[in-house]
């Protein structure tokens, strides 16, 4: 079985500052992918960033970067220079081919951005 845990139900950050959202996961597979999805109030699910487990280098996408600690099964998301538009629910997710590539999601973290 695969599980994803997000232990922070809610986080706040001041505009222009940096925030880190935590995620831990469990899988017995050696080949898997990890993702962060953003869900704003519009409810659209937006793929923010992807990490292949076989890659040691942490993925980055503009202001978004991850800290992937494979041995610790940890996958945190860092948002730099936070903007009001970053306010949303963020979901950590895991997938692997052995499980039909389905996404297993964490419970989500609500991110509030203060101006």
């Amino acid at each position: 079985a695969q599980t994803v845990t997000q232990s922070q139900p809610e986080m706040s950050v001041q505009e222009a500052e940096t925030v880190t959202l935590s995620c831990t996961y469990d899988t017995s597979e050696s080949d898997y992918y990890l993702f962060w999805y953003k869900q704003p109030p519009s409810r659209q699910m937006i793929l923010v960033i992807r990490q292949e487990a076989y890659k040691q280098q942490n993925a980055t996408e503009n202001r978004f970067s991850v800290n992937f600690q494979k041995a610790a099964k940890s996958f945190s998301l860092k948002i730099s220079d936070s903007q009001l538009g970053d306010a949303a629910m963020y979901f950590c997710a895991l997938s692997s081919g052995e499980y039909g590539n389905k996404l297993v999601f964490g419970a989500g973290t609500i991110l509030r951005v203060k101006s």
Binding site: Y32, Y33, F35, Q39, S42, R43, Q44, M45, I46, L47, R50, M89, F91, S95, S96, G97, G100, N101, K102, L103, V104, F105, A107, G108
Partner: protein
């Protein structure tokens, strides 16, 4: 052009009715999915099709029946709707395990 589109966006219906949600993707992906997001925002896989073949069916009541006429379309038909079926239903598509692209969701309200 919208990559994954599903219709309708909102659906309000009475208990006992039958309804369908349609989904289409123009990304050329082989795999399509239905996910359910409950009132606590928790997302869970319901079904997955790969090239029109059902590969995942996650303990969903048999009132829910997916149909994939071709690899670009995946529809969800729900019979005898119950109050507990109220949720947001997302269609998604992916190529292998590289991450899914989602439709805008259908908010189903059963009254």
């Amino acid at each position: 052009d919208t990559a994954v589109s599903q219709t309708p966006k909102y659906l309000v219906t009475q208990m006992g009715n039958d309804k369908s949600i349609k989904c289409e993707q123009n990304l050329g992906h082989d795999t399509m999915y239905w996910y359910k997001q409950d009132s606590k925002k928790f997302l869970k896989i319901m079904f997955s099709y790969n090239n029109k073949e059902l590969i995942i069916n996650e303990t969903v009541p048999n009132r829910f029946s997916p149909k994939s006429p071709d690899k670009a379309h995946l529809n969800l038909h729900i019979n005898s709707l119950e109050l507990g079926d109220s949720a947001v239903y997302f269609c998604a598509s992916s190529q292998e395990a590289r991450g899914a692209f989602f439709g805008q969701g259908t908010r189903l309200t059963v009254v």
